[in-house]
Symmetry: C2
Amino acid sequence: MTAANPACDNKKAIVYIIDDDQSVRDALEDLLASVDLNVKAFGSTQAFLEHGLVEAPACLVLDIRMPGQSGLDFQREMARLGIEVPVIFITGHGDIEMSVRAMKEGAIEFLTKPFRDQDLLDAIHRGIRIDMQRRAETGAAAQLRRLWSDLSPGEQDVMRLVVQGLLNKQIAAELGVSEITVKVRRGQVMRKMQAKTLADLIRIADRLEGDTKPPLSG
Amino acid sequence: MTAANPACDNKKAIVYIIDDDQSVRDALEDLLASVDLNVKAFGSTQAFLEHGLVEAPACLVLDIRMPGQSGLDFQREMARLGIEVPVIFITGHGDIEMSVRAMKEGAIEFLTKPFRDQDLLDAIHRGIRIDMQRRAETGAAAQLRRLWSDLSPGEQDVMRLVVQGLLNKQIAAELGVSEITVKVRRGQVMRKMQAKTLADLIRIADRLEGDTKPPLSG
DNA sequence: ATCTGGAATATACGTTGGTATAGATGGGGA
DNA sequence: TCCCCATCTATACCAACGTATATTCCAGAT
């Protein structure tokens, strides 16, 4: 949200491509280069994993049918590994069941060859925009966790009880310390968490709580 | 969340079916009746809309290909009308593009005939569960809006500023009333909104704010 | 052994929040 | 007209919050 956002420039976005067909990779690289997109292409999921993700907004164009691990299986494995880049599937021989499974598991697009170049470019730009937003959110969450981790254990205790709405004297009894200590810790919490009001602190705490990824209904 | 939840019994859930083929409707009715599901079947989207939704957890089994309005168009129209029932598509002659569009617009399943009965039943139960959860959430939100609407205009003003973290004296200056009045209103707000602590009130206010439907990324 | 920094605690003081009581105002309805 | 009720306001009082200052204690460094 603040100025400390060195990776939200569209020019630095990266499009990853995983396709076992060299000619497809070349064609896609040409297409994406023609619209000033940075491309990193891989012939297998293993090669992609070994390379790792650069710290930049990105999306992934993934072939379904590949020797070894299929694109669908790899999508699931990425979820297991905590890799959250938006996925666009492309396939020459897909069926409805594949596409439904892919979309259920969070793919943002599923294109069958031959597809119109513009459809792929639209999907890529949408994916990059989604990833930029996700990165902004997770970056803000990480900043809050950093502030939280700088609190002493006692300060964390006090913050936890303060945002539950307990009075200082109740917190003191709960923690077995004096009310004065609670007041001092509370002041430290407000300062360290950069909360100007109690309302701020409560909203910060709720954002820290609701950190476990929500978009997994099913 | 509370005991006032008269519509969350699985037995009262309703499965709506829209399919122009009488024999398909009959077959589905038989299937669903065999597992104790309540069914309301319609031969067209118009007939469904005229009937309206019963106030109960539900899901909708929707044929894609129908004379007049297609299932996909009807899905979009329902979104426009604010009808939020989970949709399961079935089709005999679908393609990948259809299925991808349906899933992008929020369908929870897309089955091609012939499908296994169990797959449909699984999807229906999942849809009903999703709808029950959605109803619980929107019911709680409606309850909060009801409490909010019972506040006097002045009390709503005070609540809005209180949850922004302003001091009573600041609120008084902002509204052009005395600090005493702010204190009285504030007490009324806490009582009427059933908030025992300021933390409660802030969370209630945030739930009222974040009421505009979130699940529409694109 | 001595020094040092952090944490907990106590005292004191001022500010803010919250409620009770009572008076003033003002707009429908009997 | 008079009454009723809601709202605003003032006074008074107490609880809760927050900060400054000083003291004690203790672990780790010198």
